[in-house]
Subunit: 241 residues, 2 copies
């Protein structure tokens, strides 16, 4: 535990904007988009809602900087975090075809997002591919959701948490952040909600992974010490026999 803490201490993770320019909707750049449609920038403080379930659906949002979570809330009050969104992610797509948003989007830290008016953005006939790209983005969202559903159905608590960390690491890496050392922007409760676990279970899983030496944990700061061991933990933990 002390060793882990020491490993954490050095070299705090960068928080700045990612290096690569945001590729919107699978290749179309934001600049290209702005040439044809008015795109507003919105800043969000930590905890602030980008939109809430029930508000009129009038825009998609592209995350430019910062981290958000999206939460589905049922009428009876049951709720679940449906995802954590970062630079390059498109928010609001699940509400296409509805008069109002179907979920909440909350900033987890200071965020900058681009507002893409919808459906006006579709009238952007100068970019004939846009609609097709949007469709592909939705399909990718479905695949991602299903992949997590499979994880929730077939993996143990420890495996889910390991898979979650690997996902965060991969997405960080794709944006030019460190994949081995990062700060989780969300609480244990949020992670538990997303993974269908209680927050105590998330904590225990992190503790166990740290005890195995896969990772070092200190509050929300995570350091991946042994990537392949973490990968092993995420997959079917088949014991040799």
């Amino acid at each position: 535990m002390i060793a882990n803490a020491a490993a954490i201490r050095s070299n705090p993770p960068r928080i700045a904007e990612a290096l690569p320019p945001a590729a919107v909707l699978g290749g179309l750049s934001l600049e290209e988009l702005r040439r044809h449609v008015p795109v507003l920038q919105r800043k969000l403080a930590p905890g602030q809602y980008l939109y809430r379930a029930g508000q009129p659906f009038q825009a998609l949002y592209l995350v430019h900087a910062g981290f958000l979570k999206t939460c589905l809330v049922a009428e009876d009050g049951r709720e679940q975090v449906t995802g954590f969104r970062m630079r390059g992610d498109l928010l609001g797509v699940e509400s296409i075809g509805m008069p109002v948003y179907g979920c909440d989007a909350v900033a987890l830290d200071t965020c900058s997002v681009w507002e893409l008016p919808y459906p006006p953005i579709l009238a952007c006939t100068h970019i004939p591919e846009l609609q097709a790209r949007l469709t592909e983005a939705l399909a990718a969202e479905i695949r991602s959701d299903r992949s997590w559903m499979l994880a929730l159905s077939t993996l143990s608590a420890d495996q889910r948490v390991a898979a979650f960390l690997l996902d965060v690491a991969a997405r960080h890496e794709a944006l030019g952040f460190s994949a081995r050392h990062f700060v989780l922007r969300m609480s244990r409760v949020d992670i538990g909600s997303f993974l269908a676990l209680k927050h105590e279970t998330v904590t225990r899983a992190l503790t166990r992974l740290a005890a195995q030496g896969c990772i070092a944990v200190q509050w929300r700061e995570i350091r991946i010490l042994d990537l392949s061991a973490l990968r092993d933990s995420a997959r079917c933990e088949m014991r040799v026999h």
Copy 2:
């Protein structure tokens, strides 16, 4: 149990095609579509695959009659039923943007489906709304998936099974079938896979719901005896205190 069996015995559910014509992609009729694109009909025997993960993605399929399941399979062999599809449902949308299908689609009984070549179908400029309708269909799919994810995260085994039965009933009703009396086309294993439960747990949940008088079960034949009680079972079973 004897009483339930008696209740089941009478009036076996209809298996024929549904009454209303299939409304494709939120309003566009199949006839309209066929005017512009070649649409092939395919028949499937029970157990036959419509497509398999890894095969080249070249078409979407619209279910005309019969029932299918779609299964996501991970590289390590873990698999999950991602949904049960019936008349009017569109299959293959999750693979849009990929070179190959990302899941299996298996007929649960004799099926008839319409093959919609993709992407050629998009070239159908005579129907400008088609692409937009497709996008909306994808968004609806996301909402449906998330809604089930919420159910898996927040509901007990009994509640999930009750919710599942209510979903089947509602979809049957939407197609003109009986919502109160139907035959499940899938095994307990399939239901369990979809609901993230083991097949024994599904059986036990059905037994408990039957014991409460909500439903009568005999093999795959289900009769809903007390709809509001079943609804109560599906929602947070809050006891009066």
